[in-house]
Symmetry: none
Subunit: 221 residues, 4 copies
C-alpha cells in the first residue's frame, strides 16, 4: 500500500500542474493536497516548503528539457538540418510543455529566485550552446551560413519565436480575434519560425532582393 516514491512523484506531478495553471503565488498547497489525496504534512515531509516544492518542479522540468536536448543529436547533423531540427524541437517543446513557460514567467517575476539556487538547472544549457556553436561553425565553413552569429543570441531568437507564441496564446486570441490554439495556426507558425531562423542564417545581404526599378539602400545598418 505504501509507496513513498510514487507518493512523492504524485505530489510533484500535481504540484507541477498547479504551479503551471496558477503561477507560484496563485498556486495553493491546499489544492495540491486535495488533488493528491495526501496529508498536507507529507508535502512538507518530502519538500521543505512551497518554495522548495516549486524548485523541485522547476528542476524536473529542466531535467526533461535537458534530456530532450541531449537526444536530438545535433552534433552529427548537417548544419541546416541541425538548426531546423533545433528550431522545430524548441517550438514543439514550448508547445508541449506550456507548464514550463508558466514556471519561467513566475521565475522571471521573482528575479530567478529559485533557479539561481539550483546548480542542476544552471548546468542545463552549456552543452546545447556548444552544439549550436559547432553547427554554426560548420555552416559557416560550408558557406551556407553567415558568419559572426552568436550561439546564445541565436538560441534566444529560436526560443523567442516559439515561446512568445505559446505564452501569449490567450491574449493573442483575444487581441487578434483568432484562435491561436488551433492545430492549423500552430503548424503555420512553426513553418514561419523555421523560415525566419534559416533565412536569417542564410541571408546574403549582397544577394538580397533589390527594388525593381529605382535603387534604394538595402541595408539599414
Amino acid at each position: 500500500m505504501r509507496n513513498p516514491n510514487r507518493t512523492k512523484l504524485r505530489i510533484l506531478r500535481i504540484a507541477a500542474d498547479e504551479f503551471a495553471k496558477k503561477g507560484y503565488d496563485g498556486a495553493r498547497v491546499d489544492e495540491i493536497v486535495r488533488r493528491c489525496k495526501v496529508n498536507k504534512n507529507l508535502i512538507y515531509h518530502y519538500f521543505e516548503s512551497k518554495d522548495a516544492l516549486f524548485t523541485a518542479v522547476l528542476e524536473q522540468a529542466y531535467t526533461r528539457l535537458r534530456e530532450r536536448q541531449q537526444s536530438m543529436g545535433l552534433e552529427a547533423s548537417d548544419p541546416i538540418e541541425g538548426i531546423s531540427k533545433l528550431a522545430i524541437d524548441s517550438f514543439k517543446h514550448w508547445g508541449e510543455s506550456k507548464n514550463f513557460i508558466a514556471y519561467l514567467n513566475s521565475e522571471n517575476l521573482f528575479n530567478a529566485k529559485h533557479i539561481r539556487k539550483s546548480k542542476l538547472i544552471r548546468s542545463t544549457y552549456p552543452a546545447l550552446i556548444e552544439s549550436i556553436r559547432s553547427l554554426l561553425r560548420r555552416g559557416e565553413e560550408q558557406g551556407v551560413f553567415r558568419s559572426g552569429v552568436d550561439p546564445i543570441d541565436l538560441y534566444i531568437s529560436i526560443s523567442a519565436l516559439g515561446y512568445h507564441f505559446f505564452s501569449n496564446q490567450s491574449t493573442f486570441s483575444v487581441i487578434f480575434g483568432k484562435n491561436f490554439s488551433e492545430r492549423g495556426m500552430i503548424e503555420k507558425r512553426l513553418n514561419n519560425v523555421v523560415d525566419v531562423i534559416l533565412s536569417y542564417l542564410q541571408f546574403n545581404s549582397r544577394a538580397a532582393r533589390r527594388p525593381r526599378s529605382k535603387l534604394h539602400r538595402a541595408s539599414r545598418t
Copy 2:
C-alpha cells in the same frame, strides 16, 4: 490639496508598479494603500476591486502603447525603413515598459481574463496590423520583400524577439552566466533582432548561400 483626478492617477501609477513587480496574485492592495498614502476605501471608491484596478492598469498600458504605435508614422515609410522602425520601436517598447510584460504574463496565466472584457484593449491592434500589411504589400510590390507574409505572424515574430529577451532577462542571466541587463548586451540584441526580421523578409531562397564545393539541397522543407 484635494484633487480627485490626481489621486486617482497616483493610485493607478503605484498600482501599475505593484502589479508589475509582484504579478497579479503577488500584488497587495494594502501595499498600494500604504505607498499611496490614501485611504483604502478610496481605492474601492475609484476602482471597484483588485480585478478592476488591474484592468485599469492594463488599459492604461495599452493606451500608451497605442499612442506610441500611432505616432510612428509607418504609413508613409519606405518598407524596409518602416519595418526597421517597427522592430526597433517594438524592442524599445518592451525594454522601456517591462511592466507591460509582467501584466501580459499574468494575463496569459488567467486566460486573458481582464483583457477579454476590455473593448478598448481589443481595439488597439487592428490599425497597426493594417499598417504592417500595407508595408508588406509595398515591399512586395517593390520587389524587396518576399511575398506571402502574414502581418499578424510577422508582428508576433517582431514582438517575440524583443519580448522574450526582456521577459527572461533574469533567468537568462542566471542560466548563461552573463548580465543581460547591460547596455551593450541590449544594443547588440536590438541589432540582431532587426537583422533577423529584415533577413526573413528580404531572403530570396533561390539566391541563398550555397555550399562551397559539393552541392547540398538549399531548401529545408
Copy 3:
C-alpha cells in the same frame, strides 16, 4: 457600537490572562480571539504579531508596576519604615499579579527577547533603585542599617523572597504537602520576608547572638 479603544484594551486584557496562564508558547492567539469575541485579524490590526502582543502585555504590566512604585513615597520615609513598605509592597505585588511572574519566566526563557526591545521597560527601575539607595544611606547615617549594602542587590533579595514563593506555589504545595495558596500561609510568609530583610540590614555582627557557653566564631567569611 464601535469602540476601538475598548476593543484594543479588551484584547490586551484577555491576552494578558492567556499569556499568564499558558506562557508565551502555550498561549494561543485563537483562544484569545475566541474569548475576546473579536475577529482574528483585528488582533493583527492592533498588534502586529503574537510577539508584539506579548510585548504590549509586558509593557502594560511594567507600566502598572512603575506607577505602583512611584506612589509608594519611599523618599520621605523613615529608613526602616521605607524598606518595610518596599518589602511589603513588593511581596503584595507579586502576590496580586502572578501574571507578571509568568511573563518574566517566559521572558527569561527567551533571554529577555521582548523586554530587550522595549525602552519603556528598561526605564522602569532606575528611579526605584535611587530611592532604595537613598533609604540605605539615610539608614546608615542614622546608624540603624549596616553599611555597604548595594541597592540593586537588596532589591533582588526583596524581590526574590516574594517572587519565589508565589512563582513556586504549585510545586511547593506538592513537594511539601501543604497548600501554599492559603491566606494564612501567605501572611506568615510576608512577615518572614520583612523580618529577613530588616534583620539583614540591622544585623550587627559584633552584637550577634553568641553560643551560650563555648565561644564559636560567629562569622563565616
Copy 4:
C-alpha cells in the same frame, strides 16, 4: 554499538537540554530526534509521550538534587556552618543547573502537573527539611539562632535568594544594564545571600542597631 540503556540516557540528556532551553511547550520532539540521531519511534518506545519524557527529565533532575543534598552532611555540622553550607550549596546548585529552574518554571505554569504524579519527586524533600529542623534546633539551643524559625520557610528563603538571581539573569541584565552572568557578580551575590540568611537567624531584635541620637522605634510592625 547497540546499547539500549545508553541510547535511553542519550535521549534523556538531550531532552533535558531541549526542555531547559525552550520550556515544555517550546521543546520539540523532532528536534530531540534530530539531535539524538535516533529514530522517532525509539523515543516513544522508551518514553510514552512528550509528557512522560518531561516527567523523566524532571525525575532525573530531582534525583541528582537529592543525592547532592544527602552528601552534604548537614546532620553533623555546627549550626552556623551547616546553614552556611546549605545556603552556599543551594546557591551553587541553582547556578550549576539552570536547567532545573527552567523545568520548575514550566512546571509551575502547569500547576505542577508532572511533579504531582511522581512519588519519587515528592519524597525528595522530607529528609532535607528534617536536617534543617535539626540544625535550627541545635542553633537555638546553643543560643546562636533566634527561635521560632520554620524550616520549610527558611528553606524557601534560601532557595529564593539564589533561584531568583539565576532565573532572572537575562531580564536583570537588561533592566539594570549590567551583566549578571559575570563571575564577579555571581560571587558577590553568593556572599550576600549567605549574609542575609545568617543575619536573619542570628539577629537579636533587642540588640539591634538603634538610631544614633534621637530614639526611633526599631520595630517595623
